[in-house]
Symmetry: C2
Subunit: 303 residues, 2 copies
Amino acid sequence: MFSLPQLEAFVAVAEELHFGAAAERLNMTQPPLSRQIQMLEKKLGAQLFGRTSRKVELTAAGATLLPRARQILDMCIKTDLDVRRVSSGEAGAITVGYTAIAGQSALPLMLRRAAEGMPGVSFVLRELVSTDQMDGLVKGSVDIGLLRPIVARPGVVSRPLMQDRLVVALPEGSSLLGNMAAPQGESLPLGSLDRLPLLMYSTKEARYFHDLVLRLFASAGAHANITQYASQVPALLAFVQAGLGVTLVPASAMAFAPTGVEFHEIDGRHGIQELNRVDLELAWNEETANPAVLRLLKLIETF
Amino acid sequence: MFSLPQLEAFVAVAEELHFGAAAERLNMTQPPLSRQIQMLEKKLGAQLFGRTSRKVELTAAGATLLPRARQILDMCIKTDLDVRRVSSGEAGAITVGYTAIAGQSALPLMLRRAAEGMPGVSFVLRELVSTDQMDGLVKGSVDIGLLRPIVARPGVVSRPLMQDRLVVALPEGSSLLGNMAAPQGESLPLGSLDRLPLLMYSTKEARYFHDLVLRLFASAGAHANITQYASQVPALLAFVQAGLGVTLVPASAMAFAPTGVEFHEIDGRHGIQELNRVDLELAWNEETANPAVLRLLKLIETF
DNA sequence: CTCAACAATTCAGTAAAGGTATGAATGTTT
DNA sequence: AAACATTCATACCTTTACTGAATTGTTGAG
């Protein structure tokens, strides 16, 4: 196979149609240039130039080679630049895993800041529950995770990113609460949810929420009457909207509440305040080979 | 800039994710392969693989390089093949110059034979009068000319390709001939055209026909009453169709005769037969650097 | 703790690329 | 017509770079 320097030599001669001039352009002397062309011709088994001591002209084979040679060289230069940029983190792609809720809160903030601070880096977005994100982080199919503080897999590190709180979601104008109904916007003690049909986070995919809700109920001395399981907040809210029960969701989930659902703060008295805390973490693989990820981590250190 | 062997080495390692296996695939030993990759990384200023003594994996920069490296190598292989094919005449392009009449006779024959005998070679067609073809042959903008035997320019050689004869073209049902009118298809002595309005070939672009027509008239003792000049047969036939006069055209031009024109053979007696001969030649530049042209010349040697 | 696997390093031999000097062919000028 | 200028090719030498064999260093598995 020919070599890239040979292609460069060929292009120079083809453009100058003069070995001396081409050699000068290539910062070399004429004899080795002649030999390079001869070598190229030999390797291709094709006469590329018709040349006498007075003029040089392209043959049909040479004319065929010229545009392709230019294209190959162009591609090499572009490739060189691209690889450098990706390597320096200046460009590249980051696959972000995020929970449905983070998609409404932390993700847009992060993307906005990244768009300003590191243009040239593109994002591949994947909505995943925390455990799937963790798997992805280990396998390398996810670069950055926006997830709940679940047990980390080896090699995956994380740090707190945002705090949130749970709020109560009920069917609008529902009679579930009976005479304990509170006006829209007013806080509600968890005790008022005692024995009400509770739409619950699944133990597997949403263990963090599952456990948190149980802790809160226990702390309030209320009985959790679980009637449905779902792993994602929008699914739970759909159940609420259908009037099937009540649930607790992060406050930021109110941003995409369907109509027919009303929200109430949870009464923080009796130590509930301290327990009612939903953490969102930023997680990544410690050994990530993606420089753009490192830049991103630095960029949103002060989130 | 990196080298092609380095890209090959990179692709092999990226696909095997194992230096030893990649080295075997490349028919080399492992140490030089390791060094090639190191060199490539150094030249690109980028870590391409994350490697321990237990596993090798692509970095983001490496993942960016891989498809591009494959593309570059593919293009190199294709280019190599294409250049060889063009050089051997197996593929390539031939620019054919041809007169309007040859476009109806010799050109289709030639193209049909070429399509069978040298598939892979494409043709660029340019309808040109003979003198323009000759210029093109000298400049190299025309590879093959189908033209009249005009004076050849240095470096251009030609050989006879087809013979034809002139026929008389008259407005259909015309009264121009007066009582000398002949039934359609019957031959006509040139003397019957004496003093009739004659639509003539221009002396410059169609000198060959111009001179031939004058010779024929002189030989028949008829007076050429030239009323119009044109350089191309279709233009002359259009004049005939309009009833403006008569003219002589090659018999093969009858193929694209407009309606309203009738043709008659020229009476060949009294030595006219021998003079009435229109040659078409095949011409090319002796120093053509287009191998496909040489193949074509060989292919239609026996036309 | 030893072994096996695997990438990195060292070193010597060889192939390839570049430079200088020179030759050969072909227009151009006097 | 002869000397000259231009330009590509060749010869020869030096330096660079690549290759293979032997060896080292590191890391995970038994």
